[in-house]
Every structure is written in structure tokens, then in C-alpha cells.
């Protein structure tokens, strides 16, 4: 097959002169290693753990996998939870 395709990623971007990337996507990271869009999802994930813990007495790890598989979880919140599972990030922001 002979494809006609073109790079749509601007050169400047590829040179990697930007700051840190978001833990959940390719956007530029702001606070806590997340971009502006994933930041709120991260805050929600941290805050809602208290409710889950009180309701079901589950661990942080169990909680993260519960919200990843829950269909009501928002796309960005799921991405944040997946990134935290992958990195082993705890609810206080530290890693294993």
C-alpha cells in the first residue's frame, strides 16, 4: 500500500522544548503533574475517596480500580485513575 500522509505535529512541539507533560495526556502539566483539564479530575478522585472509604471500607488501590471500571466515571477521571494505578501513586501524591 502506498499512503499519502503528512505529519501534522508542528516541529517546535516535537523538539520537546516545552515543560513537563501531563501524567494522563500529552498536554502541558500545571500542578501535581496534571494539565488544566485533568487537574479537576485528579482533585475529584482524591476527594471522593473519602466517601468511598466511608461507604465500603476499601483500600486506595481497590478504589482506583473500582472507578476505572465504573461506566459513570468521566473520561478524564478514568485516565487519572489509570495513571495513578500505573505509577502506584497514593492519595497523598506520593508513590510506592
Amino acid at each position: 500500500m502506498d499512503y499519502m500522509f503528512q505529519s501534522t505535529v508542528p516541529t517546535e512541539r516535537r523538539k520537546g522544548e516545552k515543560g513537563l507533560k501531563c501524567k494522563a495526556c500529552s498536554r502541558e502539566a500545571r500542578e501535581n503533574g496534571y494539565c488544566e483539564l485533568h487537574m479537576k479530575a485528579y482533585e475529584n478522585a482524591i476527594e471522593k475517596y473519602k466517601v468511598w472509604q466511608k461507604a465500603m471500607q476499601i483500600s486506595w488501590k481497590e478504589y482506583l480500580s473500582e472507578i476505572v471500571k465504573n461506566p459513570l466515571t468521566g473520561e478524564w477521571a478514568r485516565e487519572v485513575a489509570e495513571s495513578m494505578i500505573k505509577s502506584g501513586e497514593k492519595q497523598d501524591g506520593t508513590s510506592n
Binding site: M1, D2, Y3, M4, F5, T8, V9, P10, E12, R13, E36, L37, K40, A41, N44, A45, E47, K48, V51, W52, K54, A55, M56, Q57, I67, N70, L72, T73, G74, E75, W76, A77
Partner: protein
């Protein structure tokens, strides 16, 4: 031809050709106006006390444009009103139209503006009289009517307003000019930023109303995408009363911990219940108010799934057929002057309304229930009483029927309803059984097919009665994200926050779709929409601020009541706009990068069909062959040398990836939209069971 006539005549300008015909028909003594043409532009000559030439515009014939032409330059703050063919491509017909109007107006000595009596209609009439008719705006009279019925048109012709409503015109001009200033500058800033960065042109737009509307959708989208559900539990007791099974809910709707839910469940299982208390309440439900455009659009969306712009178009057609009153109204009032009795009597000529109208006509007095909203120009939407002279399309018939039934309902009595709450005690825990019934239909009888009310009739019970608990049910639920807006709820939100006008709100929502800022019936903000809003919020938060938009709306409304000067409103708007544009220009590079990335992603998403069913890791995408230029579907893993899956595609028509997979084999599907053909769906699986089934049948 009128232009060669020696005799003087009256020149009447209308907004649309259909209205010109209706007006000529009503004003001609013999109800047979002569249809003529000037340069292919139709007009009518009616004979009355004198000759009347009725000609229509084609909506807006004039528009705001920049003083000096420079297509992508910004900022631009100098503007003028010009014929539309100068400012817009594809509006060449407007030139002929203006020339014909100018010729027809030449020998007239009386001028009447008979365009719709609202902001847009007033500007259309004013600009035609001022520019095409050589400054006749100052001597023109104004016909004011809310229906295109013969009686009302004759009356408004016989008793016209002595001059144009200049305050309304000033308000309209201000609105167009302010919107143009914001729209042209902000849109050019975004488009230029993206083009400078990526080298590719994509039309990006935003504006004074579009920005805040996008903000509503984007804020909701962010809340949904960042949402983390939390668990809660509900307990239901299945109880048997007088041989029938009912579901009683635990008094606390949400039980927050599993432990508490288990404790309640264990305590109630295998126990009987006792009716502690029965609360019965009766209440009246008054009829709904008559329709204004917004409530008609909402109701039509809820009942028939029509988008606000579709309802608006259908209602406009019914108005032009003189079947309903002017639909672009924000009034919920029905003044007695419209003559309720005559309308009902006329409607009784249609068999489906005969018995209902007879009931209303038997009332000693006809008094409508009205809502709070007012509109100085028009009453609420009501049927004229005329019956259709042609076979109505389904959508027209539905909207007409809805307007008629709503009109009848507003004159009727309130409905009488009863609610019943039975408190059942099961081993110290209280459960509630709710019932509701309609005791007297009242207005609901008139509005019957459109009433959404479910009855839940409970059997007669007594306090102290024992009930058998058949089963206890524990359900684990999760909190839900806020719902996405639909075309009806976003319209309501715009109305509540008072942004935009009744005539333009539906159009603004459509622009969000056209620009690909939102998609789907439930308005989902796209990544491009989110990026555009983020740029706006970062560099010009005032423009997307609801408060700013509303305040500007209020100022423009004050022009209409002579409490504000147009020049002052324009100066203040420019004061806000100038620093905003400067900031956008300063940050053009960063903005361009941000937007280009979103545009690129949006284009990729448009071409992505779904996961490759062969390699399972790549994505099927629409690609173009370098050799032949032909399009086909290929897997993205081809570039990594992992998958060679490819399928041919039709070379004509638009390919639209469908969000749902094939029901026969689960492979991704596309829809092909080609001119002159019905859209069809393609499943790429050569061994799809649905295809095999079809082949066997053939």
C-alpha cells in the same frame, strides 16, 4: 409594469415573498391581486382605494461590513451598511432584488413598511426604505399585525402607525453592529492564529452570544469528564396489600454506607409491616401558559424530538399560511382583542376540535391563564382559527395541533389531583408507598395527547393494617454526572440567562454544531470546542462572561425604550473589545499552537472509524492513496508494519464514521451520504452474518 405607471400608487414592502402574496390577497378588493415580475423579482398589484404595489425583500438585503475591504485583517472597527451581495459570496440574487425594488418604488407616493413587527423585521424594512428607496424611511408608515389573516391585515393597512418604530430600529442596528464588531474581530483572531501556526485554513468563530453559549456546554462537559461517582444504596420492600404487590421505598432515599444498608435489610427481612399513617393531599394544577417561542420549542423537542431551529421554521411556515400568529414572540399573554370566541368558533369547523371548542364556548366567560413573560410587539402564539388550505406536512400538522390544543387548554379549569403517602413500619424502619391520581382532568382533557402524567392508584387501606412483606431488595447505586444539555435545555438556559434574542438563539446553537465545537443530540463539547473556550477564558474572559453579555443585552434593550443611546452602547462595547483584541494578537503564536493541535485532533477523529478488528490494536482510518488519490480504509498499524488490513470505500459522497458497531458482527461501520441517494451504512466485514443472510435470501 409598475415602474412605467403614470398614476401614483402605494408601495408596500414585506419581509418574505409569501407574506407579500398574503398581504396583496387581503388588500385586493376582489381577492385577486395581479402577480407581476420586475427583473424576475415577483411582486403583486392590489386594487383598493388606490393601487397598491406589494413587493418583498429576501430577509436581510443589507448587512454590516467593514469600511475598507481586507478579508482576513484584524482588528477592524470601522464599518458601514452595504447591500448583502457586496459583503457575502453567493448573494448575487440580492443585487437584482434591490434593483427591482428601487425601480418599483420610484413612482410611489405612499410608502408602508409591512415587515414583521420585531427587531429583525424593522431593520429589513428600514434598510430597504432608506437605501433602496432613496431615503423613504422618514416618510414611511408602519403596518403592525400579529397574524396574516385578512381581517387583521385590512385593519393594519387602514390604521397604520404614522411612522417607523425608530427606537426599535436603533436597538436592532446596535445589536447587528455590536455583534459584527465582536464576531469579525474575535473570529478572525482565532482563525488567523490557527492558520499562522499550522499553515492550514480552518474557519473558527466566536462571538458575543456564541462564546457564552459554548461556555455553558463546555463547563458541563468538563464536569462530566472529571466526574467520579460515589456509591449509595437503596432499599425497597415488596409489600402485598389486598392481594396486589407494591414497592415501598425506604424513607431515606440514599443510604450512604453498606454497613447501614445491611443493618436495615437484616432487621426487615421476614418481618411483617404495619401501616402507621396515611397522608392524603389534594391540589390543583393550573393550565400551562400559552406558548411563547421558547416554550413552544421546548415542548416540540420533548414531544416530537424537533430541534429548536426546526420548530422555528415550521412555525414560520404556519404563520405564513395564516394558521398561527407570529411565532417569534416572547409573550405569554393573550389579549381579548384577538377575539377568543371567534377563534374557537372557527376551529370548531374542524371535526377533531368540535366537541372541545363546544365545551369552551359554553363557559360563561373565556379567560385565559397567562404567563409572566411579555412582548410589547406581539401576543403569545395562538391559532388564527383559519383551517389549512393545503395538506400539511407531518411536522406542520403536529405543531399546528399543539398550538391549538395549548390555546384551548389555557381557557380551561385547573386539574384536580390527589397524592397519597402511606407510611409502613417494618420492624422499626419506615418505608413509604406513594400514589397519585387525577380526580378531575380540567385542562388536561384539552391537552390530552401531550399531557405527561402517570397515575399510581393505591388500594384502600387503613391505619394499623398489617401488610405482608414479600421481599426486601437492596440495590447498590452510584451518583450520576450532571446531564448533558440537549437543544431544548440549552435554549432554556440561554433564555434564563437572557443572552441572545428569541430570533437568533436557535441559530447560535446551530453554529456551534457547524463549527464542530459540539456534536451529538445531547450536546457534547468536542476537544476543539473546549480549546476554543479555554483560549477565550485565558485571554479574553470578559467576552465569554455571562454577566458582560447580559449587561450588554440590557443596554441594547434600553435603546428600544429610548432609555439609552446607540452610540454610547457602541462606544462602550468598543472599549471592552479593543484591549481584548490586542491581547489576542500579542499571544497569537501560543493560541495558534493550542488551537492547531485541537483542529488536528478533530480532523483525525473525523477520519477514525474504530478499532481494527483484525490486529485489535490499531485504528481503522480513512486514508488517501498517493498514487491514485482514491480514498480507502486502512489500519494505522500499517505504518508500524504490523497490520495490512484495508477496505475499499465509495469515492463519492461524505463518509461519516458511526459511533455504533455492526449489530451482526460488531465491526466498526460508516455511513455514506451521497447527493440524490438515501444514506446507507457499510460494514467492512466480508464475512458479516448479516451479509451472508442477505446473499442467501437473494
Amino acid at each position: 409594469m409598475a415602474c412605467t405607471r403614470m398614476k401614483k400608487y402605494t408601495f408596500v414592502i414585506t419581509e418574505k415573498p409569501d407574506a407579500a402574496y398574503r398581504i396583496a390577497l387581503a388588500l385586493d378588493m376582489r381577492e385577486k391581486p395581479k402577480k407581476m415580475e420586475e427583473k424576475g423579482v415577483p411582486y403583486y398589484v392590489a386594487e383598493r382605494d388606490r393601487e397598491i404595489v406589494v413587493v418583498s425583500a429576501l430577509g436581510h438585503l443589507y448587512t454590516v461590513a467593514e469600511e475598507k475591504n481586507g478579508r482576513s485583517q484584524y482588528p477592524v472597527f470601522d464599518f458601514k451598511w452595504v447591500p448583502r451581495y457586496i459583503a457575502e459570496r453567493g448573494a448575487s440574487q440580492v443585487r437584482t432584488w434591490i434593483e427591482a425594488i428601487a425601480k418599483l418604488a420610484k413612482n410611489a407616493d405612499v410608502f408602508i413598511d409591512a415587515c414583521d413587527y420585531d427587531i429583525e423585521g424593522s431593520i429589513i424594512g428600514y434598510s430597504v426604505l432608506r437605501y433602496a428607496c432613496d431615503g423613504k424611511d422618514q416618510m414611511s408608515k408602519r403596518m403592525k399585525y400579529s397574524t396574516l389573516t385578512r381581517e387583521e391585515l385590512e385593519k393594519s393597512y387602514a390604521e397604520p402607525l404614522p411612522h417607523l418604530d425608530f427606537a426599535l430600529i436603533e436597538a436592532g442596528l446596535a445589536r447587528h453592529e455590536v455583534d459584527w464588531l465582536f464576531g469579525i474581530n474575535l473570529s478572525r483572531a482565532l482563525t488567523a492564529a490557527a492558520k499562522d501556526w499550522s499553515g492550514k485554513y480552518t474557519t473558527l468563530s466566536t462571538g458575543r452570544v456564541q462564546g457564552p453559549t459554548l461556555k455553558f456546554v463546555a463547563v458541563r462537559e468538563k464536569a462530566i469528564r472529571s466526574f467520579v461517582p460515589t456509591p449509595y444504596w437503596e432499599i425497597t420492600a415488596e409489600v402485598k396489600i389486598n392481594g396486589k404487590v407494591f414497592e415501598a421505598q425506604y424513607e431515606k432515599e440514599k443510604i450512604e454506607t453498606k454497613h447501614e444498608a445491611d443493618t436495615i435489610l437484616n432487621a426487615c427481612e421476614n418481618k411483617d409491616g404495619k401501616i402507621e399513617r396515611i397522608e392524603v393531599k389534594q391540589f390543583q394544577q393550573p393550565p400551562p401558559p400559552p406558548f411563547d417561542l421558547g416554550t413552544l420549542q421546548s415542548e416540540a423537542y420533548n414531544l416530537f424530538g424537533y430541534t429548536p431551529s426546526r420548530t422555528s421554521k415550521v412555525a414560520q411556515r404556519l404563520y405564513l399560511d395564516a394558521l398561527i400568529s407570529y411565532p417569534r414572540t416572547s409573550s405569554q399573554k393573550l389579549p381579548p382583542a384577538i377575539n377568543y370566541e371567534t377563534i374557537l368558533k372557527d376551529l370548531s369547523k374542524a371535526s377533531q376540535y368540535r366537541s372541545l371548542t363546544a365545551r369552551l364556548l359554553a363557559y360563561p366567560e373565556l379567560k385565559p391563564r397567562e404567563g409572566n413573560r411579555e412582548d410589547p410587539a406581539h401576543p403569545a402564539i395562538y391559532p388564527t382559527g383559519d383551517l389549512p388550505a393545503r395538506v400539511l406536512e407531518d411536522s406542520e400538522r403536529r405543531i399546528w395541533d399543539l398550538v391549538i390544543r395549548r390555546f384551548m387548554a389555557v381557557f380551561s379549569e385547573p386539574a384536580l389531583k390527589q397524592s397519597m403517602k402511606t407510611h409502613i413500619n417494618i420492624n422499626g424502619h419506615r418505608f413509604l408507598l406513594n400514589g397519585r391520581r387525577i380526580l378531575k382532568e380540567g385542562w388536561m382533557h384539552f391537552y390530552e395527547p401531550y399531557v405527561r402524567s402517570e397515575e399510581m392508584i393505591l388500594p384502600p387501606t387503613e391505619e394499623g393494617q398489617t401488610v405482608t412483606v414479600k421481599k426486601m431488595i437492596l440495590i447498590n447505586k452510584f451518583t450520576k454526572p450532571p446531564p448533558r444539555y440537549n437543544p431544548s435545555t440549552i435554549l432554556r438556559k440561554m433564555e434564563e440567562t437572557k443572552i441572545g434574542t428569541k430570533a437568533t438563539r436557535a441559530e447560535t446553537i446551530q453554529t456551534l454544531y457547524d463549527r464542530k465545537y459540539v456534536q451529538g443530540e445531547k450536546l457534547t463539547a468536542t476537544d476543539l470546542g473546549l480549546e476554543v473556550l479555554e483560549v477565550m477564558e485565558r485571554y479574553c474572559p470578559t467576552v465569554v462572561s455571562i454577566k458582560f453579555t447580559r449587561e450588554l443585552e440590557e443596554k441594547m434593550n434600553r435603546i428600544q425604550t429610548n432609555n439609552q443611546k446607540k452610540e454610547k452602547v457602541l462606544a462602550e462595547a468598543l472599549e471592552t473589545l479593543k484591549p481584548v483584541i490586542e491581547k489576542l494578537k500579542e499571544n497569537q503564536k501560543v493560541i495558534g499552537e493550542q488551537l492547531s493541535e485541537a483542529i488536528r485532533k478533530s480532523r483525525t477523529d473525523e477520519r477514525t472509524i474504530g478499532a481494527c478488528p483484525v490486529c485489535k490494536t490499531g485504528q481503522l482510518t480513512v486514508l488517501y492513496s498517493r498514487k491514485t488519490g482514491k480514498r480507502f480504509v486502512g489500519c494505522t498499524n500499517f505504518f508500524k508494519g504490523l497490520c495490512k488490513t484495508s477496505f475499499p470505500l465509495p469515492q463519492r459522497g461524505v463518509i461519516k464514521p458511526l459511533a455504533k458497531n455492526c449489530r451482526g458482527c460488531g465491526w466498526p461501520t460508516v455511513q455514506v451520504l451521497a447527493r440524490g441517494r438515501r444514506p446507507w451504512t457499510i460494514c467492512f466485514n466480508p464475512r458479516c452474518p448479516l451479509k451472508e443472510g442477505r446473499e442467501k435470501r437473494d
